[in-house]
């Protein structure tokens, strides 16, 4: 029995996992990172557009601060997020950007003086202030009042991931590449690490840790059409679910990105629209202003994706033999801008479409993009239900994004949550609760159980074909649990997924080898992915309202009275075919920003009974503190300082701001 001991085990070498690992390491803990692939190949590298943080350096960002970022985030979430977490996040995001700057990220910088930009289809001259010359610049993104998205051309995620990954090397943190956590070791109340499969040799080992952090990213690959990488299969979330005690939250909250190239599903960044690109239909008409006169192409992603699909349904799509699509037109941005700031987009268009976006319009259609749901944690990153288990990044439901995340808020979340959970884990390991108390018998039991599962797949007499079942699951999710959802179709999806889950227990495998064996990997991952798919589909079926990215044609209104709550899914025993769902209410009486209209999209929510009183109360507090500074007012409305780790307290300075 091979056992590896460490203080902190981080499962996942993307931005979130790496940042958490560096944090714990700097507090003196021994850390090991596991990753399916070399960490720099994690999907964080694919984030093109940028990272939100309210630095307020640019002309169009002037006056930005935590308050504005907070409100944008809450509205974006359609009031589904945890507002305290959103506060903690907007407070720490500027620090995260500045830390990354110190670690070498070549953020684009403000150049003082006039410059040409495209806004709302028009060429406009903006004059950047002298005082900001050389400070970190920002671009426009959907659903934001200010230009707040810091960026590195269109390779933001790449530059961030390389900088943080190199910090992990500098801290001498070992990364065990090509390994996969396939189960968590736990005793029902405490997590003790993970059972890990070496993807090259096939060997299983136990990694025993005081603190275990899951940072395995999203699970887009349960869908057929997705912008996600091939490795985004959600195994980290699934193994948490399989403990029977840890909880997944809001799994039905799945984001569809408006602009992925058609039909391959490869993403072109929101920066295309942020920088002035337009959406057009088959007849070349710019249709978004017809639906969203206010924000147009730059409403939040859920709204733009829905409007696009609506427009296609109305017969305005471009018809091809693969289906219908719309156009993204960035030709008006000009060659210089596209060749400099949108070069990855240009390369993608050249490689996969054989077109030049300087001259040609890009065929696009929405595709699955982001998982708002994930492992439910508290604000410090501790997973609910299992002590010693932590989660951060896209794998977690920290609950910054509620039912829709804003572009640029995700890579920001990875590093901010990583900063926080790194501290949380170090605190935990140093505390008495962090002591290792695990019997080798328990470790052996978990190892043997996982080995038995693999042996059954390899040598059992199953006859089902794993790739076929995988394809079927992905089709069901894309066709029936997509942008527009309906009770009858969701019920069909749930029934069919349950049937697939039963069939997946009888998979047979042609390749018998124990080592590197892609067929075996597909088989055991599929069994886990089906559970996630069921959490998504069943959660969507039960939620009879529309909120953010979750849109029910048969229940088109947001229903705060009935549904201002978070879905919690658990999977108690392996023979269940459906998750157990429970709900956790969001407390309107404590919200800094009580529910209202988002400022875009439909204006038809069913009000929560407590909203009116809270709105009045907030107004009273605001007027009572009429002369106080914004920090004092905020503190009176919804204190959150207690959630900020010691290391990240203090007020964020901005140019020209007296920080009072």
């Amino acid at each position: 029995m091979r056992i590896v001991y460490t203080d902190v085990l981080v499962v996942g070498g993307g931005l979130a996992g790496l940042r958490a690992a560096v944090g714990a390491r700097r507090r003196g803990q021994d850390v090991i990172i596991l990753s399916l692939v070399p960490p720099k190949r994690s999907h964080s590298a694919a984030a093109q557009g940028g990272m939100q943080a309210s630095l307020g350096n640019t002309f169009k960002g002037a006056g930005d601060n935590e308050d504005v970022h907070f409100e944008d985030t809450v509205r974006g979430s359609d009031w589904g997020c945890d507002q305290e977490v959103a506060r903690l996040f907007v407070h720490a995001a500027p620090q995260a950007v500045r830390e990354l700057a110190a670690w070498g990220v070549p953020w684009n910088r403000v150049k003082a003086g006039p410059r040409q930009v495209v806004m709302d289809g028009q060429h406009v001259t903006l004059t950047e202030p002298d005082a900001s010359h050389g400070l970190i610049a920002a671009r426009d993104f959907g659903g934001t009042k200010k230009w707040r998205t810091c960026y590195v051309s269109d390779g933001t995620g790449h530059a961030m991931l390389y900088a943080v990954s190199d910090q992990a090397v500098a801290e001498r943190i070992p990364v065990h590449e090509r390994t996969e956590a396939v189960a968590l070791i736990h005793d029902g109340t405490r997590c003790h690490g993970a059972i890990v499969r070496d993807l090259v040799t096939g060997e299983l080992s136990a990694y025993v840790a005081k603190a275990t952090c899951i940072a395995t990213g999203g699970f887009g690959r349960i869908y057929r059409v997705t912008s996600n990488a091939l490795i985004n299969e959600g195994i980290g979330a699934a193994i948490a679910l399989e403990t029977g005690v840890a909880t997944l939250a809001n799994m039905e909250a799945v984001q569809f990105h408006p602009t992925t190239i058609f039909p391959a599903g490869i993403l072109v960044t929101e920066g295309c629209r942020g920088d002035g690109g337009l959406l057009k239909d088959a007849s070349g008409h710019r249709f978004m202003p017809d639906y969203e006169p206010e924000k147009k192409e730059l409403a939040s992603r859920d709204v733009v994706s829905r409007r696009m699909e609506e427009h296609i349904r109305a017969g305005h799509g471009v018809k091809t033999r693969f289906g219908d699509h719309l156009w993204l037109d960035i030709t008006l941005l000009g060659a210089q801008h596209i060749n400099g700031k949108l070069r990855e987009v240009k390369e993608i268009c050249q490689h996969f479409l054989g077109i030049d976006p300087v001259k040609d319009m890009i065929p696009v259609r929405p595709a699955q993009h982001y998982s708002m749901g994930g492992i439910r944690t508290d604000a410090a990153g501790q997973a609910r239900g299992l002590a010693g288990l932590f989660a951060c990044g896209e794998a977690a439901c920290w609950d910054l994004h509620g039912f829709n995340r804003l572009g640029g808020n995700s890579v920001a979340e990875t590093v901010v949550a990583g900063m926080i959970v790194g501290e949380t884990m170090a605190d935990f390991v140093e505390s008495s609760a962090g002591e290792l108390q695990v019997s080798t018998a328990l470790v052996r039991e978990f190892l043997e159980r996982e080995q038995a599962k693999i042996d059954t797949l390899l040598h059992g007499n199953g006859t089902e074909n794993a790739s076929e079942l995988m394809r079927r699951m992905q089709d069901i999710m894309t066709e029936k649990v997509g942008i527009f959802r309906r009770g009858d179709l969701l019920q069909e999806a749930v029934d069919e997924l349950q049937a697939l889950l039963l069939r997946s227990r009888k998979i047979g495998i042609g390749t018998k080898r124990a080592g590197a064996n892609p067929e075996l990997v597909t088989a055991y991952r599929l069994q886990k992915m089906l559970k996630l798919a069921l959490c998504v589909a069943y959660g969507a079926l039960q939620r009879t309202e529309s909120r953010g990215a979750h849109f029910r044609e048969d229940h088109p209104r947001r229903d705060d009275a009935g549904w201002l709550k978070r879905t919690l899914a658990t999977w108690h025993d392996d023979f269940q075919t459906l998750p157990t769902l429970a709900y956790e209410s969001l407390d309107v009486t404590r919200m800094e920003l009580p529910p209202g209209w988002r400022g875009y999209g439909a204006k038809n929510a069913i009000e929560h009974p407590a909203t009116e009183a809270r709105v009045a109360e907030v107004a009273t507090i605001r007027s009572a503190f009429g002369h106080a500074d914004r920090y004092t007012v905020q503190q009176a409305l919804m204190p959150f300082d207690h959630l900020v780790p010691e290391a990240f307290r203090g007020r964020n300075a901005r140019p020209g701001d007296e920080t009072s």
């Binding site: 994690s42 999907h43 070549p106 590195v152 190199d166 590449e177 996969f352 080898r513």
Partner: protein
């Protein structure tokens, strides 16, 4: 204009060192589809014909650097290679130099981590950044110039294309030299040219390069490897003469 689709033959150099399976060519036939990339073709082979076939795709969009292989003998990213740009028989082999895992999969990760440790590819700075203060300024043009060199995706194509590396295993390669150029350009890194000389001032570094430029033509990101290596060599010669 509907002609019947081509039948492609993918001629793959297969092997499984773990099981003592020696390298041998195996042919797979797939029907070409519109816009087919080698990623799509190989996925189809694995799903229908050879479930044990090993290869490494992650982003399938030319971003992550996972899928470098020899395509008709030339290093390149398989996910961005459109089959229509190739003949009806396409040979695929794993990248040389790197440790072979099996079939088209090689261990670039281990090599890259080794490079990062050896060349200390991170910002060296004594100062602890003050995270709540307004960030230090940088000229916009300089930031963009650093990003130009930061765009390397560690795919290993330049390594596989380098004649020196096939003879001298410890050579840092174009990728290593480009990394040094990147950190040297970055004023946040406090290392001096003398420090960099210690890292690459011999024939496992910049003086090992024979300027054959096998690296330059194969870099999928179009990094200016040729000019960077030449520039770095002049700088390091200057240190050597001191």
């Amino acid at each position: 204009m509907s002609t019947s689709p081509r039948i492609l033959t993918l001629r793959v150099l297969r092997s499984s060192p773990a099981e003592g399976e020696a390298p041998h060519w195996e042919d797979f036939r797939v029907e070409e589809a519109e816009g087919m990339t080698l990623f799509l073709a190989l996925t189809e082979v694995r799903e229908r014909l050879a479930p044990s076939l090993q290869f490494d795709f992650v982003c399938r969009a030319g971003i992550c650097g996972s899928c470098g292989m020899l395509i008709d003998g030339k290093p390149g990213l398989a996910c961005c290679a459109l089959t229509r740009d190739h003949g009806s028989t396409i040979t695929l082999a794993p990248l040389p130099v790197f440790e072979l895992i099996g079939d088209l999969s090689v261990n670039t990760g281990k090599w890259m981590r080794g490079t990062a440790e050896r060349l200390e590819t991170w910002i060296h700075s004594e100062a602890q950044p003050d995270l709540t203060a307004v960030e230090p300024r940088m000229e916009p043009e300089l930031a963009e110039a650093i990003y130009e060199l930061d765009r390397c995706i560690e795919c290993g194509c330049c390594v596989a294309g380098c004649g020196t590396l096939r003879m001298r295993e410890e050579f840092v390669g174009a990728i290593g030299l480009n990394k040094i150029a990147r950190f040297r350009l970055d004023p946040r890194d406090e290392r001096s040219d003398e420090d960099f000389y210690d890292l690459i001032g011999d024939d496992t570094g910049v003086f090992g390069c024979m300027s054959l430029l096998g690296c330059h033509d194969v870099c999928p990101k179009g990094l200016p490897l040729q000019t960077q290596i030449a520039f770095l060599r002049r700088k390091m010669v200057a240190v050597g003469l001191k």
